[in-house]
Amino acid sequence: MPSWPALVSQAFNGLALGALLALVSSGLTIILGTLGVLNFAHGALFAVGAYVAFVILQYTSSFVLALLGCCGVMLLLGILLERVIIRLFYDRPDEDQILVTYGIGIVLVECLRAAFGGNAQRVPVPSWGRGATQLGFLIYPTYRLQLIAIIAMLLLGLYLVLYRTSVGLVVRAGIENPAMVGILGINVRRAFLLVFAVGVVAVGLAGMLYAPVVAVTPDMGANFMAQSFVVIVLGGLGSFPGAVVGGLIAGEIISLTSAFNSSYSEVMLYALMALLLVLRPQGLFGSEGRV
């Protein structure tokens, strides 16, 4: 039995990881819900975000600048991908969409490898995030706390966009019935472009924010993508609240399990998914909907 401080510390780790997964998964889930496309390039885009941070932070020490730069690059990349490739696939079968995004993922990862090599790169923790913070009986790395806060703000921002703006309204309506949105005079394809770009920005920012905590490699996103699949199966496909709650649950499961036996941490996550598939296949927040 681990000690209480160790448990609490792991719970914080779980929160940080969970927040990250929530951000990655919400990008995945709104793209899936609105466009009907399961984005297999999501892991590669996570890595692209991390490398953008790596590049920008080599020239400037401003984390805020890196954040903005990352937003811009990911937005452009998202628009480019949607305009050039993804839009050709809206009327094609699911499997073709999966295959082409998987191909995009390969190309992105190989571009990163060609540009930066396969070795792990380090991204510095921003100056204001160094050291540790005293939390009662627990000492915890400051940056991870800030990570939680920044992601919470980003998710809040995404929530406000989805639930408080006209664009969000169209997206939520589009997740339910894209055809009817078109009948009501809204150009759905234009909304699709926006949703895809927003999803790409979300996962890119996640990669960027996580870069200081881990080794940055071209393949770093693959495992996150697999985990975010589990998250959206947990939360229900296409559900933004599902992605957030599912992400936090997944993060805590991984972290808390590793407090007991680290070799089972990831396995537990997948075991939970198996269990849920049997008991509640539509996920926590899902309706049968499009799937």
Binding site: G103, I106, G118, V291
Partner: protein, 626 residues
């Protein structure tokens, strides 16, 4: 009528071609940059690919988790050998393959419950789970990140005469032999009744279930077959490189298999091997070119995207498609011309001045079970959607051997009621009895096995298969039961089924169209085939949902005569909007209105019923205060 019974040398052409290629490859291909080791690797990938193609190319289930079974087979084999538990590589291979199959059974049981995107995500997630299980909890046995070194090579014979199959050419010969056997088996599976059902599942899963096949079980069978192939390939990998690497379990491995299959051509069986040849050749040969060393996978990725966008059939698929198209062009043009001619006259039937009753004594399974006089009974059936009561407590009985019609204005609940009769939709309350046996709660394929079949309002056909194959898939259902794994017999080798298909082809007046792909047929022909599909399951009770929808007046007359013919041997329940046709056909009519039973009686009684007339004139009429 011409029946080409495939057989002899021509049917074995693909096997022969593969054999020749396997023999010629190590002689010819080294000059093109394929070393013997490379060819052996290609065959290893090709072997997993054979199983994967049955799962993906044939059944349409895209798995991103095949690495789990490749790794499981590989590590079980390697562990049994390295730990000394088993001395024989052959036995260890068998054990590893079996282990992968059992693992496939467990994962598949969960995964085949979901379709499309869900299925892909679930297989990917279980693939990752296997990777982590190998990496940590089981690292004591598997060596974790280090893998298992020192896997011995197979030995043939005993004692002094034993031959070790060493690296290089002997290993290639072993792999080629196993690949060839695997290929022959896979082709048998594709051509078996199971293969026919799997192919149909890819095109229209719902209809396969409605015909009475146990769809999840067949999908699971395909999943396990794929796992077995992957497990065998994994086991061989360890022997081949005398080391079992942990990355056999990685997501990369699953992805590489998918890419190779698409590049080579899904649904062709050899496609994955061809794709592997492209992949491995690029990797080994582009690396030799200065400046391209790190870019080989980028090149491959771009090529892959282009293939998915434009040439979705892959290398072999495009070649076969071009070949078949050229060969069948004349027949295709003739079939299309006939369709155009039929549609130009507006009739789907050859003009018969006087209808002659067709003998419908089909070589079908004995129709009626039980000796009750009531074939089908609905007992206070109800179906509520939220607050909406689509059907609200409807009871009626269908007398055996009669034509019973269900009518009612739009929104009366006819289609919901109809779906409940064969348990396509499960009722909120009430039950359906077929000759006294409860149908409700059994599910649609069980209902079909009990003897209820339905022809649908919108055609649900296997559009890319010929007419004969469509009917065969229907006829196989009750003949073979919900599930039978007769993997090695040809699909067309059941004489009773073929007789039945021939009889129905004749009855439908589609004998000349037997080998035409369904999507080429004229609309009226498709409508007839839709009814024929239901009939081919030799049901006791046949449900016809708007059989006349979209037909020309002439076709209507012909179809009504056809329905009367069928009715001489089985019970028919019919929903139709063409009331003139109904009053001409039905012996008894049930009228629904706003989800409730409004009237039930003979055509004359219904004709005179004031409430029915009011219902058809509109609800307001009846309810408005005077």
């Amino acid at each position: 009528m011409k029946r080409v019974r495939p057989g002899g040398l021509r049917a074995c052409l693909p096997e022969f071609a593969v054999l020749v290629t396997l023999v010629a490859a190590p002689v010819v291909l080294p000059h093109a940059g394929f070393s013997t080791d490379l060819l052996t690797r290609v065959l290893n990938w090709g072997l997993i690919g054979l199983g994967f193609d049955i799962l993906f190319g044939l059944t349409g289930l895209l798995s991103f988790g095949q690495a789990a079974f490749y790794g499981a087979g590989g590590f079980v084999t390697a562990y049994l050998l390295v730990s000394g538990t088993l001395g024989s590589v052959w036995l260890a291979l068998a054990a590893g393959t079996l282990a992968a199959g059992v693992f496939g059974l467990m994962v598949g049981w969960l995964a085949v419950r979901r379709i499309g995107i869900y299925f892909t995500m679930i297989t990917l997630a279980f693939g990752q789970m296997a990777y982590f299980v190998e990496n940590s909890p089981l690292s004591k046995y598997t060596g974790g990140e280090n893998g298992l070194p020192g896997v011995p090579v197979p030995v043939i014979g005993f004692g002094q005469h034993a031959i070790r199959i060493s690296a290089g050419m002997p290993m290639y010969v072993l792999f080629a032999g196993i690949f060839f056997i695997g290929y022959v088996l896979a082709r048998r599976i594709v051509r078996s009744p199971v293969g026919a059902v799997l192919k149909a599942i890819k095109q229209n899963t719902g209809r396969v279930a409605m015909l009475g096949h146990n769809v999840p079980a067949y999908k699971l069978a395909a999943f396990v077959i794929a796992a077995l192939y992957a497990g065998l390939a994994g086991g061989l990998l360890g022997s081949f490189q005398s080391y079992m690497p942990p990355d056999a379990f990685s997501l990369e491995t699953s992805g590489q298999l998918v890419v190779q299959t698409i590049v080579g051509g899904a649904g062709t069986l050899i496609g994955p091997a061809v794709g592997a040849a492209v992949w491995l050749w690029l990797r080994d040969n582009l690396q030799l070119i200065p400046g391209l060393a790190t870019l080989w996978k980028l090149v491959l990725g771009i090529a892959f995207i282009v293939l998915v966008i434009g040439l979705r059939r892959g290398i072999c698929g495009e070649i076969f498609h071009w070949w078949n198209e050229r060969r069948d062009l004349a027949a295709l043009r003739a079939a299309e011309a006939r369709t155009a001619a039929i549609e130009a006259t507006g009739d789907g039937v050859a003009v018969e001045p006087e209808h002659q009753a067709v003998d419908v004594t089909l070589p079908l399974a004995a129709p009626a079970t039980g000796n009750s006089d009531i074939a089908l009974e609905a007992r206070s059936l109800a179906r509520h959607y939220g607050g909406l009561k689509a059907v609200d407590g409807v009871s009626f009985k269908v007398r055996r051997g009669s034509i019973h019609a269900v009518i009612g204005p739009n929104g009366a609940g006819k289609s919901t009621l109809f779906k409940m009769l064969l348990d396509e939709v499960s009722p909120s309350s009430g039950e359906v009895l077929l000759f006294g046996d409860r149908v409700t709660g059994a599910g649609v394929s069980r209902a079909a096995q009990l003897g209820i079949a339905k022809s649908n309002q919108l055609n649900q056909l296997f559009l890319n298969l010929p007419v004969r194959s469509n009917l065969r898939i229907a006829a196989l259902a009750r003949r073979r039961g919900p599930l039978r794994l007769d993997l090695l017999r040809p699909a067309d080798s059941l004489p009773e089924v073929e007789q039945q298909v021939d009889a129905i082809l004749k009855l439908l007046d589609l004998a000349e169209r037997a080998d035409t792909a369904v999507h080429i047929l004229a609309y009226g022909e498709k409508r007839r085939l839709e009814i024929g599909m239901a009939l081919a399951t030799s049901p006791n009770v046949l449900l016809l949902d708007e059989p006349l929808a979209g037909m020309s007046p002439h076709e209507r007359v012909a179809t009504c005569a056809f329905i009367r013919d069928i009715a001489r041997t089985r019970t028919i329940v019919i929903v139709e909007h063409d009331l003139d046709a109904i009053f001409g056909l039905a012996e008894r009519i049930t009228v629904l209105y706003e989800g409730r039973l409004l009237a039930d009686g003979s055509p004359d009684e219904i004709r005179r019923n004031q409430a029915v007339q009011d219902a058809y004139l509109g609800g307001l009429h009846a309810h408005e205060p005077a």
